[in-house]
């Protein structure tokens, strides 16, 4: 197995082997799940197999996260440069790009050509949408890099979930404003995910548009210029979805509507849990402090990280946005999610349960210690939250 040698500051030579190296292929294969369901349906004749990916994502993976647990190991800092230069890791993120297209086209083909019951048609559209939502994760990893190829591939893969504005929005908007009240993609304490979605989905689009328009204006171009990076990706989405409509007929209209909404919902779910309630303090000049690891919720759960290119090591990601997935670190005393993303999404979908689990975790964080002035609170819920938690005297701290 491939390893890296390095010398520690004390002079000691080390040999490091990345035990997860081959397991990262799971992030490449995971988006092929809809095709697994289709294959099982075609060989057994049982339509329920089409829903298998839902069972894998929301039952098997959370259970496996719970049973296998967390991995807090970090690669030694001395080998990180070698790890980053190792092309293998990069190639995996390239390979998954066409697979996202294949998964969507394959699912659309099956939905458009088979006589499915209404529930399995709907289920297949949901599965396809959730899987395309994972394309945002792929585009996320690629889009954070400086290379032209990686950035171009990011914009191409973002066409699958119809989220062409993500590159501008996430890299130039969300990272700049994260964990502040100004950020439509950071959830506030007391804000349920459904309310958040209505703020996040339009808010993110308009912020991206404004940022891209500013750039084009500086270049003396119109916002509708061919150089608009949002429109480039959206055009590809339009061609892809029109192509599906022409090939597989009117059934594609409900299929793609459900698919697109679910794909966006995946990003909403991730955004909701990644910074819930967290707030960067303002310094004496009125500037928000820079984003530190404790401004993002983290999860070290092994299996879900292996299928998401380490997205859940989100604390290090926001503090150091260009760090490659294989090199992301765990730190002590981070805001920690109780399960991997897929399990935590289920909590988020049931707001009373979410508040029950997360609000105490939030207030107990070392840098908050029950001080509500250090929390990003939904203004509509502020009075109720102050009453609830101040009356008990920050007992959670």
């Amino acid at each position: 197995m491939k390893g890296y040698t390095a010398t520690l500051p004390g002079g000691e030579a080390i040999y490091y082997v990345d035990r997860k190296r081959w397991f990262w292929m799971m992030s490449v294969l995971y988006p092929l799940q809809p095709l697994l369901g289709i294959w099982l349906h075609s060989t057994t004749g049982t339509q329920a197999w089409l829903l298998l990916p839902l069972f894998i994502g929301y039952v098997i993976v959370p259970l496996a996260d719970w049973m296998i647990g967390e991995d807090t190991n970090n690669p030694p800092e001395e080998v990180v440069l070698q790890l980053d230069r190792d092309r293998y890791y990069r190639v995996l993120t390239f390979l998954v790009v066409p697979l996202h297209f294949i998964s969507l086209i394959g699912s659309a083909w099956w939905a458009g050509t088979q006589s499915l019951s209404w529930w399995s048609f709907l289920g297949l559209a949901v599965v396809a949408g959730i899987t395309s939502g994972l394309g945002i994760n792929t585009g996320h990893e690629l889009g954070h890099k400086k290379g032209r190829l990686e950035r171009t591939l990011a914009k191409i893969v973002l066409a699958v979930p119809v989220y062409g504005h993500f590159w501008v929005e996430h890299n130039r908007g969300h990272h700049r404003d994260v964990s502040t009240p100004d950020d439509p993609a950071s959830a506030r304490m007391g804000e349920n995910i459904y309310k958040f979605a209505l703020r996040e989905i339009p808010g993110a689009f308009f912020r991206a548009w404004a940022i891209e328009k500013d750039r084009l204006v500086r270049r003396d171009r119109s916002a509708w210029d061919a150089d608009n990076q949002i429109l480039q990706s959206m055009l590809l989405s339009l061609l892809l979805q029109l192509g599906l409509l022409v090939m597989f007929g009117w059934k594609m209209i409900p299929f793609l509507v459900v698919h697109n909404v679910l794909a966006w919902w995946q990003l909403t779910s991730a955004n909701y849990i990644e910074h819930y309630g967290l707030l960067r303090a303002k310094d004496s000049n009125g500037r928000f402090e820079r984003c530190l690891p404790h401004h993002s919720w983290n999860s070290n759960h092994v299996l879900s990280n292996l299928v998401l290119f380490h997205l859940q090591r989100h604390s290090d990601h926001h503090a150091h946005p260009l760090r490659r997935y294989q090199s992301l670190r765990h730190f002590n005393d981070l805001p920690t999610l109780p399960n991997g993303y897929f399990g935590v999404y289920l909590l988020a979908y049931v707001p009373w349960l979410w508040y029950r689990v997360m609000d105490h975790r939030l207030l107990a964080l070392p840098h908050i210690a029950g001080d509500l002035s250090r929390v990003n609170i939904d203004p509509d819920r502020r009075d109720a939250i102050l009453e609830k938690y101040c009356a008990t005297g920050a007992s959670s701290a």
Partner: protein
């Protein structure tokens, strides 16, 4: 003409080259960049964080 470097990601703004993709033509002084200029590569460091190289 000077160069200014992002302390987080190493992005370098070279006044002689500018950053045409971002709309800053060659010769644009660093001090003339917008006050809310964020690093075009990482977006987590701002104009006042940049170091003269």
């Amino acid at each position: 003409m000077s160069e200014f470097k992002c302390p987080e990601c190493g992005y370098t703004y070279d006044e002689a080259v500018g950053d045409p993709h971002e709309g800053y033509s060659p010769g644009t002084r660093f001090e003339n960049l917008p006050d809310d200029f964020a690093c075009p590569d990482c977006s987590v460091r701002f104009k006042e964080d940049f170091e003269k190289a």
